[in-house]
Symmetry: C2
Subunit: 367 residues, 2 copies
């Protein structure tokens, strides 16, 4: 293999690919990225056996071939070089690199030993026209998914598609975030699947580096492909039944409030300084005011008030402040709607004037 | 105690004081800051028994008194409040705080139980006219001091003063940084002492928040006071004999080079990607060029060249790249002077056209 390409292009490819590479002691080749010539371009691939990434970059192919190299060494070296022409050449077991006065020889492993990244040949089930918007949609729900894998089905992000919309959902059993993306090019018959949280993290990261393009989603029997043209992300799906979450979303509210989001966030944060070990703060909605309070046996206590438009009956409820803050941070509008029912029933946060996002939060049970 | 002051002022005082407070389980009052009224101002103090900080802020004293409060809770709460008037009042064992609609009551401990921060009554040994410059001087040498305390005397920064200058020095036995501050107001008879690295870190941090003022240095028998007017930092000194470092500074060089600092740094960093476990890279000076190379049995090897003005005989030496990078990062000029002698002798890095800073680095012994 012998290729001449621009540092900038190779750098972008490597930075996208190298993130899924993790230190693997039992299978050292997983520490490597695969470089190979393919149809006149350089293909860079990586995998951790759960997620695979392929990226393609242009260059002058002087000789076809392939090799694998330690991802970290190669990426750090290429990132450090000036943005000039780079010559990559396989010499025996090594990859030789030249760029201006810089020369390196990196020990490689044979390309044939690199695990195969599956190819999905099915037709796309959906096309996102604008990656930038899709990235923001994913970011609104990813934080709500369960961090632990003790219940694998909620450790991922749930996708459900029909003709008119894609819904993406994250929940950990204590709060839930749902985003609805309305587009008319969905599949004729509804379908749904669960994508690992880590895959969505990678997807958000890739979309941050390569925004603006179209993306096709291809569904295999147990895998999914996010195809961005010159970047592909392939991941296993999570096997399991996602909870029937629609039933916990309250349809009506005994108490409704509309309040400025930044001020609400600030008061929650200040109250949280005095929250006890279970992270609880109290909200009291009454007479055009929300009162925020918290108390801890060791630290002391605090209270503050914020004006709000309140309809319905007065109510006091306790919430985990972290869940409140997570939800608020994903509300993009100036004002937030808060919907409450009797104590111990789930509450809702919603952007005012934007029906595409919904955040459900379970209160902390009071005696 | 009852005081009304501005949030901004109290915030500055607390942020300066709270950094030395560490989680202390055996003596819980060390987690607290002491608030007390003193001559019409509010004094905020903290100590970890090695370093003490006093800061003063103005306010309207309605009732004199004192209390101690958990530093973290108080600081986080005050930092979060709007920049408005704050009312602080001791009520029983608690500190009550009011600011607009925000109210808190923080559990305190009696001021009488707070450890005394020693007062140094001696006359100043030195005055720095410009804190900003002094801060940069300290930053140039602090990184060279030993991180471990296995040899306590080199875990600190060495100060030596005479009539014309103050020298400050850090070394860990592998490299040494010396800064000379020329001022004519030094003590008549030379004196020297060792200040703990942590104290210098605190001093740099305080000077970053409160630049531009004059500072007086007061020396006690086993303590030192850095007096910045409304902020005082008091620290123990390190007991011990600082090594006679002057003898290891080479006076002449068999090989001298002048080279662009940023390019030199960049080439060292790139070579370091292929350095072995002992962090060694090789420099070869010959024929108007410096060659940088490194090799690791597992990774591979690399090489690069940089043009330089070289006088004297050609030489090859190995250095720990981290020590090279540390030294280079403290050279403020565009060009750096490199002075070398035979293998295994200390080398020197110096800013070109600035005799106040000197960095000595031991090479890695080659077979």
């Amino acid at each position: 293999m012998k290729i001449i390409c621009l540092q900038e292009n190779l750098k972008t490819s490597l930075n996208i690919a190298q993130n899924v590479v993790s230190r693997n002691l039992t299978l050292p080749i997983l520490n490597n990225v695969l470089l190979e010539t393919e149809n006149g371009r350089l293909k860079v691939s990586s995998t951790n056996l759960e997620i695979g990434i392929n990226t393609w970059t242009s260059g002058k192919i002087e000789k076809t071939g392939a090799i694998t190299c330690p991802a970290k060494t190669l990426t750090t070296f290429i990132n450090s070089l000036p943005n000039k022409k780079i010559e990559l050449e396989v010499k025996g077991d090594n990859l030789s690199i030249k760029c201006e006065t810089f020369k390196a020889s990196i020990k490689g492993l044979p390309a044939d030993d690199f695990p195969l990244i599956p190819k999905l040949k099915e037709r796309p089930i959906f096309s996102f026209k604008n990656n930038e918007i899709f990235k923001n949609d994913l970011a609104q729900v990813i934080g709500a998914a369960a961090a632990s894998e003790s219940r694998p089905e909620i450790s991922g992000i749930f996708f459900s598609l029909d003709k008119e919309a894609v819904k993406i959902v994250g929940t950990d059993g204590f709060r839930l975030a749902e985003k609805t993306i309305r587009q008319n090019n969905g599949p004729a018959s509804p379908l749904s699947f669960i994508v690992p949280q880590r895959t969505i993290q990678e997807l958000i990261r890739i979309l941050s580096e390569k925004g603006g393009q179209e993306m096709n989603m291809v569904l295999g029997s147990s895998q999914i492909l996010f195809d961005m043209g010159d970047v592909q992300l392939i991941s296993r799906l999570i096997d399991g039944q996602y909870p029937d979450y629609q039933q916990i979303i309250p349809k009506g509210f005994e108490t409704k409030a509309t309040v400025l989001k930044d001020e609400f966030t600030n008061n929650v944060r200040i109250a949280s300084i005095f929250s006890s070990k279970v992270n609880d703060i109290q909200l009291t909605l009454k007479d055009s005011k929300i009162e925020f309070s918290a108390q801890d046996a060791d630290l002391g206590e605090n209270k503050s008030q914020l004006e709000a438009q309140i309809q319905g009956k007065g109510v006091q409820m306790s919430f985990n402040f972290r869940y409140l803050l997570d939800g608020l941070s994903n509300i993009p509008t100036k004002q937030v709607f808060v919907g409450l029912n009797a104590e111990n029933s789930p509450a809702i946060l919603k952007p005012v004037g934007d029906d595409s996002f919904l955040y459900v939060i379970m209160p902390i049970k009071t005696a």
